[in-house]
Protein backbone atom coordinates (compact mmCIF):
# COMPACT_ATOMS: atom_id res chain seq x y z
CA UNK A 1 0.00 0.00 0.00
CA UNK A 2 1.22 3.46 -0.94
CA UNK A 3 1.91 5.71 2.06
CA UNK A 4 1.76 9.49 1.94
CA UNK A 5 2.99 11.73 4.74
CA UNK A 6 1.54 15.22 4.77
CA UNK A 7 0.54 18.17 6.95
CA UNK A 8 -3.22 18.18 6.64
CA UNK A 9 -5.71 15.79 5.12
CA UNK A 10 -9.23 17.02 4.37
CA UNK A 11 -11.91 14.36 3.89
CA UNK A 12 -14.81 15.55 1.71
CA UNK A 13 -14.67 18.14 -1.07
CA UNK A 14 -17.90 20.07 -0.55
CA UNK A 15 -18.11 23.70 0.57
CA UNK A 16 -16.53 22.97 3.98
CA UNK A 17 -13.67 20.84 2.68
CA UNK A 18 -12.69 23.31 -0.04
CA UNK A 19 -12.63 26.24 2.42
CA UNK A 20 -10.64 24.31 5.05
CA UNK A 21 -8.11 23.11 2.46
CA UNK A 22 -7.59 26.64 1.11
CA UNK A 23 -6.89 28.02 4.61
CA UNK A 24 -4.39 25.23 5.39
CA UNK A 25 -2.53 25.66 2.10
CA UNK A 26 -2.52 29.44 2.52
CA UNK A 27 -0.53 28.92 5.73
CA UNK A 28 2.09 26.79 4.01
CA UNK A 29 0.73 23.35 4.96
CA UNK A 30 1.07 20.48 2.52
CA UNK A 31 -2.62 19.71 2.02
CA UNK A 32 -4.50 16.92 0.28
CA UNK A 33 -8.26 16.82 -0.17
CA UNK A 34 -9.84 13.40 -0.67
CA UNK A 35 -13.20 13.32 -2.49
CA UNK A 36 -15.55 10.40 -3.15
CA UNK A 37 -16.89 11.83 -6.42
CA UNK A 38 -15.12 12.75 -9.66
CA UNK A 39 -15.09 16.45 -8.85
CA UNK A 40 -15.21 18.74 -5.84
CA UNK A 41 -18.12 21.05 -5.03
CA UNK A 42 -20.44 18.57 -3.33
CA UNK A 43 -24.12 19.46 -3.39
CA UNK A 44 -23.33 22.97 -4.71
CA UNK A 45 -22.88 21.43 -8.18
CA UNK A 46 -26.56 20.58 -8.42
CA UNK A 47 -27.91 23.69 -6.64
CA UNK A 48 -28.27 25.80 -9.79
CA UNK A 49 -30.50 28.39 -8.06
CA UNK A 50 -29.04 31.65 -6.78
CA UNK A 51 -28.71 33.04 -3.27
CA UNK A 52 -25.30 31.72 -2.30
CA UNK A 53 -22.32 33.86 -1.32
CA UNK A 54 -23.92 37.02 0.09
CA UNK A 55 -21.77 36.82 3.25
CA UNK A 56 -18.56 35.33 1.84
CA UNK A 57 -18.32 36.98 -1.58
CA UNK A 58 -20.75 39.90 -1.05
CA UNK A 59 -22.63 38.93 -4.21
CA UNK A 60 -25.43 36.58 -5.11
CA UNK A 61 -24.15 33.44 -6.83
CA UNK A 62 -25.52 30.12 -8.00
CA UNK A 63 -24.17 26.90 -6.44
CA UNK A 64 -21.88 25.93 -9.34
CA UNK A 65 -20.43 29.47 -9.41
CA UNK A 66 -19.79 29.40 -5.64
CA UNK A 67 -18.05 26.03 -5.96
CA UNK A 68 -16.03 27.26 -8.93
CA UNK A 69 -14.59 30.21 -7.00
CA UNK A 70 -13.25 27.79 -4.38
CA UNK A 71 -12.01 25.33 -7.02
CA UNK A 72 -9.99 28.19 -8.52
CA UNK A 73 -8.62 29.15 -5.09
CA UNK A 74 -7.57 25.52 -4.52
CA UNK A 75 -5.85 25.31 -7.90
CA UNK A 76 -4.04 28.63 -7.30
CA UNK A 77 -2.62 27.31 -4.03
CA UNK A 78 -1.50 24.00 -5.49
CA UNK A 79 -3.81 21.87 -3.35
CA UNK A 80 -3.75 18.22 -4.35
CA UNK A 81 -7.29 16.97 -4.89
CA UNK A 82 -7.56 13.17 -4.93
CA UNK A 83 -10.97 12.49 -6.51
CA UNK A 84 -12.80 9.19 -6.95
CA UNK A 85 -11.27 8.05 -3.69
CA UNK A 86 -13.20 6.41 -0.87
CA UNK A 87 -12.12 6.46 2.77
CA UNK A 88 -12.27 3.02 4.38
CA UNK A 89 -10.92 3.76 7.82
CA UNK A 90 -9.70 6.51 10.12
CA UNK A 91 -7.28 5.07 12.70
CA UNK A 92 -6.94 7.47 15.67
CA UNK A 93 -4.19 5.39 17.36
CA UNK A 94 -1.83 5.21 14.38
CA UNK A 95 -3.07 8.60 13.14
CA UNK A 96 -3.59 7.31 9.64
CA UNK A 97 -6.37 7.21 7.05
CA UNK A 98 -6.81 4.24 4.70
CA UNK A 99 -8.43 4.98 1.33
CA UNK A 100 -9.19 3.12 -1.88
CA UNK A 101 -9.36 4.39 -5.46
CA UNK A 102 -8.83 3.16 -9.02
CA UNK A 103 -5.03 3.28 -8.54
CA UNK A 104 -5.27 1.09 -5.43
CA UNK A 105 -5.10 1.69 -1.70
CA UNK A 106 -3.35 4.68 -0.17
CA UNK A 107 -2.53 5.30 3.47
CA UNK A 108 -2.35 8.97 4.42
CA UNK A 109 -0.40 10.01 7.53
CA UNK A 110 -1.39 13.62 8.22
CA UNK A 111 -0.33 15.78 11.19
CA UNK A 112 -3.92 16.98 11.38
CA UNK A 113 -7.14 15.57 9.97
CA UNK A 114 -10.10 17.76 8.99
CA UNK A 115 -13.45 15.99 8.63
CA UNK A 116 -15.81 17.72 6.21
CA UNK A 117 -18.02 14.78 5.26
CA UNK A 118 -21.30 16.71 5.19
CA UNK A 119 -24.76 15.23 5.52
CA UNK A 120 -27.05 12.84 3.71
CA UNK A 121 -30.77 13.10 3.13
CA UNK A 122 -33.18 11.26 5.36
CA UNK A 123 -34.67 8.59 3.11
CA UNK A 124 -38.12 7.03 2.60
CA UNK A 125 -36.98 4.00 4.61
CA UNK A 126 -36.37 6.29 7.61
CA UNK A 127 -40.01 7.49 7.59
CA UNK A 128 -41.87 4.18 8.10
CA UNK A 129 -44.87 5.23 6.02
CA UNK A 130 -47.35 2.35 5.51
CA UNK A 131 -48.27 1.08 2.06
CA UNK A 132 -46.58 -0.59 -0.87
CA UNK A 133 -42.99 0.03 -1.93
CA UNK A 134 -43.30 1.22 -5.54
CA UNK A 135 -40.80 3.20 -7.64
CA UNK A 136 -41.43 6.91 -8.02
CA UNK A 137 -40.35 7.98 -4.54
CA UNK A 138 -37.21 10.14 -4.53
CA UNK A 139 -35.38 12.34 -2.08
CA UNK A 140 -35.30 15.98 -3.22
CA UNK A 141 -31.53 15.85 -3.71
CA UNK A 142 -31.74 12.80 -5.96
CA UNK A 143 -34.49 14.46 -8.02
CA UNK A 144 -32.36 17.61 -8.17
CA UNK A 145 -29.38 15.62 -9.46
CA UNK A 146 -31.56 13.98 -12.15
CA UNK A 147 -32.97 17.29 -13.34
CA UNK A 148 -29.93 19.59 -13.07
CA UNK A 149 -27.03 17.28 -13.89
CA UNK A 150 -28.40 14.32 -15.84
CA UNK A 151 -31.25 15.92 -17.82
CA UNK A 152 -33.89 13.48 -16.58
CA UNK A 153 -37.35 14.19 -15.12
CA UNK A 154 -38.48 11.91 -12.28
CA UNK A 155 -42.16 11.74 -13.42
CA UNK A 156 -45.22 13.74 -14.51
CA UNK A 157 -47.28 14.58 -11.45
CA UNK A 158 -45.56 15.14 -8.12
CA UNK A 159 -46.29 15.83 -4.49
CA UNK A 160 -43.62 17.01 -2.08
CA UNK A 161 -43.37 15.80 1.51
CA UNK A 162 -41.44 18.11 3.80
CA UNK A 163 -40.87 21.84 3.44
CA UNK A 164 -37.07 21.89 3.71
CA UNK A 165 -35.32 24.28 1.36
CA UNK A 166 -34.35 21.65 -1.22
CA UNK A 167 -38.00 20.54 -1.39
CA UNK A 168 -39.20 24.10 -1.98
CA UNK A 169 -36.51 24.72 -4.60
CA UNK A 170 -37.50 21.45 -6.32
CA UNK A 171 -41.19 22.41 -6.32
CA UNK A 172 -40.25 25.40 -8.50
CA UNK A 173 -37.68 23.53 -10.60
CA UNK A 174 -40.03 20.61 -11.43
CA UNK A 175 -42.84 23.06 -12.28
CA UNK A 176 -40.60 24.97 -14.68
CA UNK A 177 -39.41 21.69 -16.22
CA UNK A 178 -43.03 20.81 -17.05
CA UNK A 179 -44.13 18.57 -14.17
CA UNK A 180 -47.34 19.25 -12.30
CA UNK A 181 -46.59 19.85 -8.59
CA UNK A 182 -49.79 19.42 -6.58
CA UNK A 183 -48.50 20.70 -3.26
CA UNK A 184 -46.10 20.51 -0.35
CA UNK A 185 -46.99 18.93 3.01
CA UNK A 186 -45.22 19.75 6.28
CA UNK A 187 -45.87 17.78 9.48
CA UNK A 188 -44.85 20.69 11.71
CA UNK A 189 -47.17 23.70 12.15
CA UNK A 190 -44.46 25.91 10.60
CA UNK A 191 -42.40 25.56 7.39
CA UNK A 192 -38.96 23.93 7.45
CA UNK A 193 -37.37 26.13 4.77
CA UNK A 194 -36.50 29.81 4.52
CA UNK A 195 -39.36 32.33 4.22
CA UNK A 196 -37.90 33.65 0.94
CA UNK A 197 -38.19 30.17 -0.57
CA UNK A 198 -41.85 29.84 0.44
CA UNK A 199 -42.42 33.15 -1.33
CA UNK A 200 -40.40 32.69 -4.53
CA UNK A 201 -40.77 28.91 -5.02
CA UNK A 202 -44.35 28.21 -3.88
CA UNK A 203 -46.33 31.50 -3.86
CA UNK A 204 -44.94 32.62 -7.25
CA UNK A 205 -46.25 29.40 -8.84
CA UNK A 206 -49.46 29.00 -6.79
CA UNK A 207 -48.24 25.75 -5.22
CA UNK A 208 -50.13 25.16 -1.96
CA UNK A 209 -48.34 24.46 1.35
CA UNK A 210 -50.24 22.24 3.81
CA UNK A 211 -48.97 22.65 7.40
CA UNK A 212 -49.53 20.04 10.14
CA UNK A 213 -50.06 17.57 7.29
CA UNK A 214 -48.18 14.48 6.21
CA UNK A 215 -48.32 11.46 3.94
CA UNK A 216 -49.80 8.51 5.85
CA UNK A 217 -49.88 5.91 3.07
CA UNK A 218 -48.42 5.35 -0.39
CA UNK A 219 -50.17 3.30 -3.12
CA UNK A 220 -49.11 1.57 -6.34
CA UNK A 221 -47.83 -1.81 -7.39
CA UNK A 222 -44.78 -1.11 -9.51
CA UNK A 223 -44.98 2.65 -9.90
CA UNK A 224 -46.48 5.01 -7.32
CA UNK A 225 -50.04 5.93 -8.37
CA UNK A 226 -51.44 7.72 -5.31
CA UNK A 227 -50.67 8.96 -1.80
CA UNK A 228 -52.93 9.47 1.21
CA UNK A 229 -52.55 12.69 3.17
CA UNK A 230 -53.87 13.46 6.65
CA UNK A 231 -53.87 16.42 9.01
CA UNK A 232 -52.17 16.10 12.40
CA UNK A 233 -53.00 17.65 15.74
CA UNK A 234 -49.90 19.74 16.56
CA UNK A 235 -50.51 19.20 20.28
CA UNK A 236 -50.82 15.42 20.41
CA UNK A 237 -49.01 14.58 17.17
CA UNK A 238 -51.92 12.27 16.23
CA UNK A 239 -53.87 12.09 12.97
CA UNK A 240 -57.08 14.15 13.10
CA UNK A 241 -60.01 11.78 12.36
CA UNK A 242 -61.82 12.36 9.08
CA UNK A 243 -58.96 14.26 7.43
CA UNK A 244 -57.54 11.44 5.27
CA UNK A 245 -57.53 12.27 1.57
CA UNK A 246 -56.08 10.27 -1.32
CA UNK A 247 -54.65 12.05 -4.36
CA UNK A 248 -53.27 10.62 -7.60
CA UNK A 249 -49.58 11.27 -8.26
CA UNK A 250 -46.79 9.27 -9.91
CA UNK A 251 -43.97 10.94 -7.98
CA UNK A 252 -43.34 11.66 -4.32
CA UNK A 253 -40.41 13.93 -3.50
CA UNK A 254 -39.04 13.82 0.06
CA UNK A 255 -37.48 16.85 1.71
CA UNK A 256 -37.47 15.62 5.27
CA UNK A 257 -34.16 16.67 6.67
CA UNK A 258 -30.47 15.94 6.53
CA UNK A 259 -28.45 13.62 8.76
CA UNK A 260 -24.81 14.51 9.50
CA UNK A 261 -22.42 11.79 8.33
CA UNK A 262 -19.78 10.65 10.79
CA UNK A 263 -19.47 6.85 10.39
CA UNK A 264 -15.70 7.19 10.05
CA UNK A 265 -15.15 8.79 13.46
CA UNK A 266 -18.25 8.33 15.60
CA UNK A 267 -16.75 5.35 17.46
CA UNK A 268 -14.08 7.52 19.05
CA UNK A 269 -15.29 11.14 18.73
CA UNK A 270 -18.08 12.63 20.84
CA UNK A 271 -21.35 13.11 18.98
CA UNK A 272 -24.01 15.66 19.97
CA UNK A 273 -27.37 13.89 20.35
CA UNK A 274 -29.45 16.85 19.20
CA UNK A 275 -27.29 17.99 16.27
CA UNK A 276 -26.68 14.30 15.47
CA UNK A 277 -23.26 15.56 14.38
CA UNK A 278 -19.73 15.33 15.75
CA UNK A 279 -19.20 17.74 18.65
CA UNK A 280 -16.56 20.43 18.23
CA UNK A 281 -15.19 23.03 20.65
CA UNK A 282 -14.84 26.72 19.81
CA UNK A 283 -11.49 25.94 18.10
CA UNK A 284 -13.29 23.44 15.78
CA UNK A 285 -11.59 20.44 17.44
CA UNK A 286 -13.45 17.20 18.01
CA UNK A 287 -12.93 15.31 21.28
CA UNK A 288 -9.85 13.79 19.59
CA UNK A 289 -7.15 16.52 19.39
CA UNK A 290 -5.82 15.18 16.05
CA UNK A 291 -9.21 15.65 14.35
CA UNK A 292 -10.95 18.91 13.41
CA UNK A 293 -14.42 19.06 11.87
CA UNK A 294 -16.64 21.62 10.14
CA UNK A 295 -19.78 21.84 8.06
CA UNK A 296 -22.94 19.76 7.90
CA UNK A 297 -21.30 16.77 9.63
CA UNK A 298 -21.15 18.97 12.77
CA UNK A 299 -24.67 20.38 12.51
CA UNK A 300 -26.94 21.05 9.55
CA UNK A 301 -26.46 24.71 8.62
CA UNK A 302 -29.02 26.78 6.73
CA UNK A 303 -26.55 28.80 4.61
CA UNK A 304 -23.45 27.61 2.78
CA UNK A 305 -21.81 30.90 3.73
CA UNK A 306 -21.88 29.89 7.40
CA UNK A 307 -20.39 26.49 6.50
CA UNK A 308 -17.58 28.27 4.68
CA UNK A 309 -16.87 30.60 7.61
CA UNK A 310 -16.69 27.76 10.16
CA UNK A 311 -14.61 25.59 7.82
CA UNK A 312 -12.12 28.39 7.16
CA UNK A 313 -11.71 28.73 10.92
CA UNK A 314 -11.16 24.95 11.23
CA UNK A 315 -8.47 25.16 8.54
CA UNK A 316 -6.76 28.04 10.35
CA UNK A 317 -6.78 26.18 13.67
CA UNK A 318 -5.44 22.97 12.10
CA UNK A 319 -2.65 24.98 10.41
CA UNK A 320 -1.73 26.57 13.74
CA UNK A 321 -1.07 23.15 15.27
CA UNK A 322 0.74 21.84 12.18
CA UNK A 323 3.08 24.84 12.27
CA UNK A 324 3.99 24.05 15.88
CA UNK A 325 1.68 26.56 17.51
CA UNK A 326 -0.48 25.76 20.52
CA UNK A 327 -4.22 25.99 20.82
CA UNK A 328 -5.89 26.69 24.15
CA UNK A 329 -6.61 23.34 25.76
CA UNK A 330 -9.20 23.65 28.51
CA UNK A 331 -12.73 23.97 27.27
CA UNK A 332 -15.90 24.45 29.31
CA UNK A 333 -19.26 23.04 28.15
CA UNK A 334 -21.70 25.29 26.31
CA UNK A 335 -25.12 23.97 27.33
CA UNK A 336 -28.54 24.38 25.77
CA UNK A 337 -31.03 26.34 27.82
CA UNK A 338 -34.70 26.91 27.00
CA UNK A 339 -35.91 26.63 23.37
CA UNK A 340 -32.49 25.89 21.87
CA UNK A 341 -32.33 23.08 19.29
CA UNK A 342 -29.33 22.47 17.04
CA UNK A 343 -26.33 24.46 18.26
CA UNK A 344 -22.57 24.55 17.78
CA UNK A 345 -19.89 24.63 19.24
CA UNK A 346 -20.47 22.34 22.24
CA UNK A 347 -17.50 23.64 24.22
CA UNK A 348 -15.83 27.01 24.70
CA UNK A 349 -12.07 27.60 25.04
CA UNK A 350 -11.89 30.76 27.13
CA UNK A 351 -8.18 31.11 26.33
CA UNK A 352 -8.80 30.68 22.60
CA UNK A 353 -9.91 32.80 19.65
CA UNK A 354 -13.20 34.70 19.35
CA UNK A 355 -15.83 32.62 17.53
CA UNK A 356 -19.50 32.48 16.49
CA UNK A 357 -22.22 30.35 18.06
CA UNK A 358 -24.79 29.11 15.51
CA UNK A 359 -28.12 27.97 16.93
CA UNK A 360 -31.70 27.19 15.99
CA UNK A 361 -34.81 28.00 18.01
CA UNK A 362 -37.23 25.17 18.76
CA UNK A 363 -40.20 27.47 18.18
CA UNK A 364 -41.40 30.43 16.17
CA UNK A 365 -41.10 33.73 18.10
CA UNK A 366 -42.20 37.14 16.86
CA UNK A 367 -39.70 38.60 19.29
CA UNK A 368 -37.22 36.70 21.41
CA UNK A 369 -34.33 37.28 23.77
CA UNK A 370 -31.07 35.39 23.33
CA UNK A 371 -29.11 35.03 26.56
CA UNK A 372 -25.63 33.66 26.97
CA UNK A 373 -25.11 33.14 30.62
CA UNK A 374 -24.42 33.53 33.32
CA UNK A 375 -24.80 37.20 32.40
CA UNK A 376 -22.40 37.39 29.47
CA UNK A 377 -24.70 38.61 26.71
CA UNK A 378 -28.38 39.44 26.22
CA UNK A 379 -29.93 40.52 22.96
CA UNK A 380 -33.41 40.88 21.51
CA UNK A 381 -34.06 39.40 18.08
CA UNK A 382 -37.11 39.83 15.83
CA UNK A 383 -38.78 37.10 13.77
CA UNK A 384 -37.10 33.97 15.16
CA UNK A 385 -37.88 30.82 13.14
CA UNK A 386 -36.57 27.26 13.58
CA UNK A 387 -35.60 27.20 9.89
CA UNK A 388 -33.22 30.14 10.25
CA UNK A 389 -30.03 29.93 12.28
CA UNK A 390 -29.15 32.65 14.74
CA UNK A 391 -25.58 33.88 15.07
CA UNK A 392 -24.07 34.97 18.38
CA UNK A 393 -20.57 36.42 18.19
CA UNK A 394 -18.37 35.71 21.21
CA UNK A 395 -15.70 38.42 21.38
CA UNK A 396 -12.26 38.64 22.98
CA UNK A 397 -13.89 40.72 25.72
CA UNK A 398 -16.41 37.95 26.44
CA UNK A 399 -13.64 35.34 26.59
CA UNK A 400 -11.66 37.46 29.06
CA UNK A 401 -14.72 37.80 31.26
CA UNK A 402 -15.26 34.01 31.23
CA UNK A 403 -11.66 33.52 32.41
CA UNK A 404 -11.91 36.28 35.00
CA UNK A 405 -15.11 34.89 36.50
CA UNK A 406 -13.79 31.33 36.40
CA UNK A 407 -17.12 29.99 35.07
CA UNK A 408 -17.22 26.22 34.70
CA UNK A 409 -19.97 26.16 32.08
CA UNK A 410 -22.02 28.47 29.89
CA UNK A 411 -25.67 28.25 28.86
CA UNK A 412 -27.39 29.73 25.85
CA UNK A 413 -31.16 30.15 25.89
CA UNK A 414 -34.05 31.77 24.03
CA UNK A 415 -37.03 33.35 25.71
CA UNK A 416 -40.12 34.76 24.00
CA UNK A 417 -40.82 38.41 24.88
CA UNK A 418 -43.92 40.54 24.27
CA UNK A 419 -43.86 41.86 20.70
Amino acid sequence: MRTLELDSLVIGGGAAGMAAAVECAERGCKTVLVEREASTGGVLNQCIHNGFGLHVFKEELTGPEYAHLFQKQMADRGIDVHPDRFVLKVDPQKKEVITIGASGATCYKPNALIMTTGARERSFANLRIPGTRPSGIFTAGVAQRFVNLQNRLPGKKAFILGSGDIGLIMARRLTLEGMEVLGVAELMPFPGGLARNISQCLDDFDIPLYLSTSVVEVHGKERLNAITLARFDPGTGKVLPGTRKTIEVDTLILSVGLLPQNELIEDFCEVDAINRGVRVDSMMRTSNPWIFAAGNNVTVYDLVDFVTLDAKFAGQMAATIIKGGRLAQSAIPLKRGKNVGAMTPGKVCAGGNPFTIFLRSRKVMEKGRIELGPGLLSRVHMGIRPSEMLEVKVTQGHLEKIQQMGWKELTISLEEVEA
Binding site: I48, N50, T62, E65, Q150, L176, L194, I198, S199, G383
Partner: protein, 122 residues
Amino acid sequence: MKSKKMVCISCPLGCTLAVSYSEDGKEIAVSGNRCPRGVTYAEHEIRDPRRVVTSNVKVLGGEWPLASVKTTGPIPKDRIRDLVQLLVPLEISAPVSIGTKVLENVFQSGEDVVVTREVKKL
Protein backbone atom coordinates in the same frame (compact mmCIF):
# COMPACT_ATOMS: atom_id res chain seq x y z
CA MET B 1 -54.08 53.20 0.57
CA LYS B 2 -53.88 49.43 0.20
CA SER B 3 -51.69 47.24 2.37
CA LYS B 4 -49.91 43.97 1.83
CA LYS B 5 -47.51 41.70 3.70
CA MET B 6 -44.63 40.20 1.76
CA VAL B 7 -41.35 38.40 2.37
CA CYS B 8 -38.30 40.13 0.97
CA ILE B 9 -36.37 37.65 -1.19
CA SER B 10 -33.27 39.82 -1.65
CA CYS B 11 -31.26 37.64 0.75
CA PRO B 12 -31.76 34.55 2.94
CA LEU B 13 -32.74 36.66 5.99
CA GLY B 14 -36.23 36.94 4.44
CA CYS B 15 -37.57 40.02 6.27
CA THR B 16 -41.35 40.19 6.59
CA LEU B 17 -42.34 43.52 5.05
CA ALA B 18 -45.51 45.47 5.77
CA VAL B 19 -46.19 47.52 2.66
CA SER B 20 -48.85 50.17 2.21
CA TYR B 21 -49.31 51.67 -1.22
CA SER B 22 -51.58 53.88 -3.27
CA GLU B 23 -53.76 52.37 -6.01
CA ASP B 24 -51.50 53.70 -8.78
CA GLY B 25 -48.36 52.44 -7.02
CA LYS B 26 -46.81 55.89 -6.87
CA GLU B 27 -46.74 56.14 -3.07
CA ILE B 28 -45.22 53.20 -1.24
CA ALA B 29 -44.34 52.94 2.47
CA VAL B 30 -42.37 49.97 3.78
CA SER B 31 -41.65 48.75 7.31
CA GLY B 32 -40.09 45.59 8.71
CA ASN B 33 -37.04 45.74 6.43
CA ARG B 34 -33.56 45.36 7.94
CA CYS B 35 -31.74 47.03 5.03
CA PRO B 36 -32.50 49.41 2.12
CA ARG B 37 -32.85 46.49 -0.31
CA GLY B 38 -36.20 45.71 1.38
CA VAL B 39 -37.61 49.05 0.22
CA THR B 40 -36.37 48.51 -3.35
CA TYR B 41 -37.81 45.00 -3.36
CA ALA B 42 -41.23 46.17 -2.14
CA GLU B 43 -41.34 48.99 -4.70
CA HIS B 44 -40.57 46.58 -7.52
CA GLU B 45 -43.02 44.02 -6.16
CA ILE B 46 -45.88 46.55 -6.26
CA ARG B 47 -44.98 48.28 -9.56
CA ASP B 48 -43.24 45.61 -11.67
CA PRO B 49 -42.37 42.31 -9.96
CA ARG B 50 -39.19 40.72 -11.30
CA ARG B 51 -37.15 37.58 -10.62
CA VAL B 52 -33.73 36.23 -11.42
CA VAL B 53 -34.38 32.98 -13.30
CA THR B 54 -32.09 29.95 -13.19
CA SER B 55 -32.39 26.89 -15.43
CA ASN B 56 -30.31 24.63 -17.70
CA VAL B 57 -29.41 24.36 -21.39
CA LYS B 58 -28.33 21.26 -23.31
CA VAL B 59 -24.62 20.74 -23.91
CA LEU B 60 -23.26 18.59 -26.76
CA GLY B 61 -20.09 16.57 -26.24
CA GLY B 62 -19.58 17.55 -22.61
CA GLU B 63 -18.83 15.74 -19.35
CA TRP B 64 -22.41 16.65 -18.34
CA PRO B 65 -25.43 16.82 -20.70
CA LEU B 66 -26.45 20.21 -19.25
CA ALA B 67 -24.97 23.55 -18.29
CA SER B 68 -26.76 25.63 -15.68
CA VAL B 69 -27.70 29.20 -16.64
CA LYS B 70 -29.07 32.36 -15.00
CA THR B 71 -30.39 35.72 -16.04
CA THR B 72 -27.83 38.44 -15.29
CA GLY B 73 -30.52 40.33 -13.36
CA PRO B 74 -34.22 40.12 -12.56
CA ILE B 75 -36.68 39.86 -15.46
CA PRO B 76 -40.48 40.44 -15.37
CA LYS B 77 -42.06 37.72 -13.24
CA ASP B 78 -44.79 36.96 -15.81
CA ARG B 79 -42.11 36.02 -18.37
CA ILE B 80 -40.41 33.29 -16.26
CA ARG B 81 -42.18 30.42 -18.03
CA ASP B 82 -41.67 32.04 -21.45
CA LEU B 83 -37.95 32.28 -20.77
CA VAL B 84 -37.71 28.62 -19.78
CA GLN B 85 -39.52 27.72 -23.04
CA LEU B 86 -36.95 29.76 -25.00
CA LEU B 87 -34.16 27.70 -23.40
CA VAL B 88 -35.66 24.28 -24.28
CA PRO B 89 -34.50 24.10 -27.95
CA LEU B 90 -31.04 25.63 -27.27
CA GLU B 91 -27.93 23.50 -27.64
CA ILE B 92 -24.37 24.62 -26.97
CA SER B 93 -21.13 22.73 -27.55
CA ALA B 94 -18.60 21.81 -24.89
CA PRO B 95 -16.29 23.16 -23.56
CA VAL B 96 -18.47 25.77 -21.87
CA SER B 97 -17.27 28.31 -19.36
CA ILE B 98 -18.96 30.45 -16.73
CA GLY B 99 -20.25 33.73 -18.11
CA THR B 100 -20.79 32.51 -21.70
CA LYS B 101 -23.82 34.36 -23.09
CA VAL B 102 -26.57 32.10 -24.46
CA LEU B 103 -29.37 34.70 -24.93
CA GLU B 104 -29.18 38.48 -25.14
CA ASN B 105 -31.50 41.15 -23.73
CA VAL B 106 -34.35 38.72 -23.05
CA PHE B 107 -37.84 40.27 -23.45
CA GLN B 108 -36.15 43.68 -23.75
CA SER B 109 -35.36 43.47 -20.04
CA GLY B 110 -31.75 44.50 -20.56
CA GLU B 111 -30.70 41.19 -19.00
CA ASP B 112 -28.85 38.34 -20.69
CA VAL B 113 -28.84 34.61 -19.98
CA VAL B 114 -25.34 33.35 -19.08
CA VAL B 115 -23.81 29.98 -18.24
CA THR B 116 -23.02 29.32 -14.54
CA ARG B 117 -21.17 26.00 -14.81
CA GLU B 118 -17.89 24.94 -16.43
CA VAL B 119 -18.52 21.89 -18.62
CA LYS B 120 -15.40 20.21 -19.99
CA LYS B 121 -15.27 18.54 -23.38
CA LEU B 122 -15.37 14.75 -23.20
